[in-house]
Symmetry: D2
Subunit: 350 residues, 4 copies
C-alpha cells in the first residue's frame, strides 16, 4: 500500500451524496479529507449534522468562499446542477482534478444539456474533454481525465445492463428499448419537500417523470453512441418506499443473431474482470438489499419464451454504485490506486 | 334500502383476503355473517386473532367439517387453490352461490389450469358456467352467475388498463404487450415464510416469477378473448416494501388508427359510469396510497413521444379491488344490491 | 336518523388533521362540508391535493379572507397554534361553534399557555368557557360547549390510561408517574422538513423533547385536576417509523389500597359504556395497527410483580382518536347526533 | 499488522447473528473462516443463501456432524439456546475457545437459567468459568476466558447505560429502575413466523413480554452484582418497525449524592477510552440509524427537572454491538488483536 495521501475537497457536503462520500472516504487509506463546504452550515462540525461520523470525521463545514480548494488534488461536487461548471475552470487552472456528481459534465451535446437543465453551459470546451465516469466502459479515458461527469444513478443501471448486447450488436432496434426503473427515496435528495416526507412516501409507490426525466437524454446519448445507430428508448422511473436501492427492469428485442448465442456466457465473460459488476447465475434474480451500502451492481437475464425478448434485471445502491461509490472508484483510477481502495464494504443484509 | 339480509359464509378466514372480507362485510347492511371456517383455529374467536374486529365481529372460527355452509346464501372461498372446486358441487346442489378468491374458476381452459396449478380440475362442467368476476367487463353475466372466479390481483390492473384499447382495436399486436407490475407484500399472503419477513422484505425490492407467474396465463386468456386474436404478452411482477398497494406500468404499441384518436377521452367515456374505476386527468399519475383500503382503481395514460407507444399506469389496493372488495362488488351484483353497498370506504391517506 | 345536516367549515385543510377531518366527514350523514380554507392553495380543488378524495369531496380551497365561515354551524381549526383564538370571538358572535385541534383552548392556565407556546393568549375569557374535549371525561360539558379545545394526541392516551386509577385514588404520588410514549411520523404534521423525510425517519427511531414537550403541561394540568393533588410527571416522547399509530407505556406506583382491588375489573367497568375505549382481556397487549384509521383506543394492564408498580399500555391512531376522530366525536355530542355517527370505520389491518 | 490468522468456526450460520458474523469476519484481516454449519442447509454455498456475500465468502454450509470444528481456534455459536452447552465440553477439550451468542453462558445462577430457559444446564462447571462478554465491564477476564457468554442485545444497552452510576453508587434503589426498550424486528431472528411478517410488523408497533422477558433476569443479575445490593427492575420491551436498531430509555432515581455531581462529565470520563461507547454532548439525543451496521453504542443523559430522576437514552445496532459485533470484539480481546480489528465500519446513514 502506498502511504502517500491525496488531499480531497467536497463541495456541498450536506446532501446524501455528500455524506455518502464522507462515509466512503473517512476510512480510505490514501485520502486526507481537506475541506468540505456548505454555504448554509459553515462553522458546523460535520459530525454534528451526521452523528454517524462522530470520531471518524473531524472536519467543520466551511464557506465555499473561503475554502482553499485550490490546495486539493481532487474536488468532488455534490451540488445542484450548475455549480460544478462555474468553479471547474479555476480549479483546473490550479491543477485540481474535478469529479462532478451532478449533470454538468454528463451530456456532451450542449444543446441537449441546456434544454433539459434550463441553464446555459458555461464551459463547453472543458465539457469536450470531460469523461463520462463509468469505469467498466471508459476506464482508459478516466485514467487520464481531469474532469469526470459522474453518471446518473438510473443511467448506470441501464447502461451496464445493456453494454454486452450493444457491443455485440445483439439488439433489434426496430422496437424501442424499454427501461422500467424503481428507486429508493434517497434518490430524491435531502431537500425539505412534502412529497418525500415519511408519511407521504411510506407504504406507497408511484411512477413519475413519465413525460420526461433528465436521465432519459443521458441514457439515450450513451446508448446511441454504443449502438452507433439511432434508436428509440422509453424510460419510466418509479419511487419506491425504501431508503436506498435501485432496480431497473429492461425489455429489449433481440436481433436474429442473438438467438443462437449463449447470452448468459456473453455477460459473464464481458464482466469477468469487473469486481463491481456481478452477473448472477442463470435462473436467479437480484434483490436491492444484496448491494445495500456497497459499490456493487448485479445483473440477471431472462429470455421471454416465444417473444424474442430479453428481460434484464439490474440492481445497485443508488447512493453507491449509482453515485458516491462510483465517484470514488473513478478517483481511484485517476490517481492510480487499486480500484477497490476504500470500497471494500460488505453489503448490509439484513 | 332493502332490510332483508343474506347469510354469508367464509371458508378460510385466517388469511389476508379472509380478514379483508370480514372488514368489508362487518358493516355491510345487507349481510349477516353466518359462518367462518378455519381448520387450524376452530374454536378461536375471530376477534382474538384480529383485534381490529373486536366489537364488530362476534363469530368464532368453526371447523370446515361442522360448519353449516349449506344454510348460507353465498360462500366466499379465501383458501388455497383447489379447495373451492372440491366443495362447490355440494354447495350448488344446496342452492348456495359461490365466489372463489383463488384460481379454481378463473381459467376456462382446463389444460392450462392443470399445467399451472399442478392439480386436476375436479368440476370442469361447473367451470364452464362460472363467470370471471370483473364487473366492468362482465356485469350482465355476473348478475345471473352461480359461481364467480374472482380475478387475480395483477390481472385486474392489467385488464382494466387495457380494456378500452382492446374493445376498440387500438393495439398493434406485432410487438408484445408488456406489463411491469409491482405489488405490496400482503399479496404474498399470511403464511409464515422467511422471504416475506419484515427484516427480509423491508427496505428491499426484487423482481420475481420472471420465468413464469400464474397470473400470466390468466391475463393472456382474457386479453386474447378481448382482442379476438393471438397476441404476445410479457409480464414481470415485483415485490415492493409496502403492506398494500399494486401498480402496473403497461407498455403497448398503438395501432395506426389509434394515433388520430383522443385516448384520454376514450378511457373517460368507457369508465364514465363505473364508480370503482377512475381515469385521472391528463398529465397526472396515480399513487397507490390514493386507494389504500378502498375498492378503487385509478388509471393514467401517457403517450411516449415519437415511439408510437402508450404507457398506462394503473393502481389499486391489491386486497380490495384486487381481491376482497371486488368479491363483495360481485356479491352485490349477484344479489341485486346497490353495487357500492358496504364499499363506501374513503381511502386512508396518509 | 335525523336528516337535517349541519354546515361545517374547516380552517387549514392541507395538513394531516385537515385531510383526516375530510376523510371522516366526507361520508358523515349529517354533515354538509361548506367551506375549507387554505391561504397558500386557494383555488385548488381539494381532490387535486388529496386524490384519495376524488369523487367524494368536491370543495375547492378558499382563501380564509373570503370564506363565509359565519354561515357554518361549526368550524374546525386544523391550524398552527394561535390561529383559532384570533378568529373564535367573531365566530362565536355569529353563533358558530368552534372545535380547535391546536392548543389554543387546551390549557386553562393562561400563564402556562404563554410560557410553552410563546405567544399571548388573546381571549382568556373565552378560554374560561372552553371545554377540554375528551368525551369519556367531560361528556356533559361538551354537550353544552361552544368552544372545544380538542386534546393533544399524547394526552389522550395518557389520560384515558390513568383515569380509572385517578378517579379511585389508587396511585401513590410519592414517586412520579412516568409515560414513555411512541408516535408515528404523521404526528409531526405535513410540513416540509428534513427530519421527517422518508430517508431520515425510516428504519430509525429516537427520543425527542426530553427537555420539555408541550404536551407535558397539558397532561400535567389534567392529571392534577383529576388527582386533586400535586404530583410529578415524567414524559418522554419517541418518534417511530410508522405513518400512524401511537403507543404510551405508563408506569405508576399503586397505592396500598389498590393492591387489594381487581384493577382489570375496575377498568372494564369504567369504560363499559364507552364504545371508543376498549379494555383488552387480562394477559394481552395491544398493537397500534389494531386501531389504524379508527376512532378507537385500546388499553392493557400489567402488574409488575413485587414492585408495586402497574404498567398500562395504551394505543390509538394519533390522527383519529388522537385528533380528527375525537374532534368529530365532540361535534356529534355538541349537536346531539349519535356519538358514533360517521365514525363507524373498521380498522385497516393489515 | 500481524499476518497470522486464526481459524474460526460458526455453528448455526443461517440466522441473522450468523450472517452478521460473516459480514464482519469476511474482511477481518486475522481471521480465516474455516467452517460454518447448518443442519438444514448442508451443501448449500453460503453466498447462495446470502447473495450479499457473493465473492466475499466462498464457504459451503456443512453438516454439524461432519464439520471439523476441533481444528478451529474459536467457535461462535449463533444457535438456539442449549446448543452451545452441549458442544462446548468437547471443544474445550480440543483446545478450542467458545463464544456463545445465545444464553447458555450468560446466567451464573443455574436455577435461574433453568427457570427461564426451561432446560437443564448441562455444564455448570464450565459456566462457572465463563465470562459475561461486555468488554467495557470485564475486559481483563475476557482476555483469559475460554468461554464467553455474549450478552443479550437489551442487556448491553441497559447495563452500559447504568454502569457509571452503579459503579459510583449514585442510584436510589428505594424505587425500581425502569427500562423501556425498543427493538427493530431483526431481533426476533430469521424464523418463519406470522407475527414478524412484513405485512404484520410494518406500520405497527407493540409492547411484548411484559409478563416476563428472558433478558430481565440477565439484566437483573448484572445490575445486582454491580450495585452490590438488592434492587428492583422493571423492563418492558417493544417491537418497532425497523430492520435494525435498539433504543432503551432508562428511568432512575438519583441518590442524594448524585445531585451535586456533574453526571455528564462522569459518563464522559468513564468511557473516555472506550472506542465503541460514545457519550453524546449534553442536550442532544441519539438516533438508532447513527449506529446502523456499526459496533457502536451511544448514550445521552437528561435530568428530569424537580423529580430527582435521570433519563438515560441508549442506542445500538441490535445485531452489532448487541450481538455479532460485540462477539467479534470479544474474540479480538481473547486473541490479543487490536480491539477494533474488523470492526472499523462507518454507520450506514441514510
Amino acid at each position: 500500500m502506498d502511504n502517500k495521501k491525496i488531499k480531497v475537497g467536497i463541495v456541498g457536503g450536506t446532501g446524501y451524496t455528500g455524506v455518502e462520500l464522507l462515509r466512503l472516504l473517512a476510512l480510505h487509506p490514501q485520502v486526507e479529507l481537506a475541506a468540505i463546504t456548505s454555504r448554509g452550515d459553515a462553522g458546523l462540525p460535520v459530525a454534528d449534522m451526521f452523528p454517524s461520523l462522530r470520531g471518524l470525521v473531524n472536519l467543520v463545514f466551511t464557506d465555499p468562499a473561503t475554502a482553499n480548494l485550490n490546495a486539493c488534488d481532487v474536488v468532488f461536487f455534490a451540488t445542484p446542477h450548475g455549480v460544478a461548471m462555474s468553479q471547474t475552470p479555476a480549479l483546473l487552472a490550479a491543477g485540481v482534478k474535478v469529479i462532478d456528481l451532478a449533470a454538468d459534465f454528463r451530456l456532451q451535446d450542449v444543446a441537449i444539456f441546456e434544454k433539459w437543465y434550463k441553464m446555459p453551459h458555461s464551459c463547453a470546451d472543458i465539457l469536450k474533454g470531460a469523461v463520462y465516469g463509468i469505469p467498466e466502459l471508459y476506464r482508459e479515458q478516466i485514467k487520464h481525465a481531469k474532469v469526470i461527469g459522474n453518471p446518473g444513478c438510473y443511467p448506470t443501471t441501464v447502461l451496464l445492463g445493456l453494454v454486452p448486447l450493444l457491443e455485440q450488436g445483439l439488439i433489434d432496434f426496430s422496437v424501442p428499448i424499454i427501461a422500467d426503473s424503481k428507486s429508493g427515496v434517497s434518490g430524491a435528495g435531502r431537500k425539505a419537500e412534502v412529497a418525500t416526507l415519511f408519511a407521504e412516501a411510506s407504504d406507497n409507490m408511484k411512477a413519475y417523470g413519465v413525460a420526461g426525466h433528465r436521465h432519459h437524454p443521458e441514457i439515450h446519448a450513451q446508448l446511441t453512441q454504443l449502438a452507433k445507430t439511432n434508436l428509440e428508448f422509453i424510460f419510466v422511473p418509479h419511487l419506491v418506499p425504501m431508503i436506498r436501492g435501485m432496480l431497473s427492469t429492461i425489455y429489449v428485442k433481440l436481433s436474429a443473431k442473438a438467438n443462437s448465442l449463449d447470452l448468459q456466457a456473453l455477460f459473464e465473460k464481458r464482466y469477468a474482470n469487473e469486481q463491481f459488476v456481478d452477473v448472477l447465475p442463470a435462473g436467479t434474480l437480484p434483490e436491492t438489499r444484496s448491494v445495500r451500502g456497497a459499490n456493487q451492481l448485479r445483473i440477471a437475464l431472462h429470455k421471454q419464451a416465444d417473444t424474442g425478448y430479453l428481460t434484464i434485471v439490474v440492481v445497485q445502491d443508488n447512493l453507491v454504485k449509482g453515485a458516491a461509490g462510483q465517484a470514488v472508484q473513478n478517483m481511484n483510477i485517476m490517481f492510480g490506486f487499486a480500484e477497490n481502495t476504500g470500497l471494500q464494504v460488505v453489503p448490509l443484509l439484513p
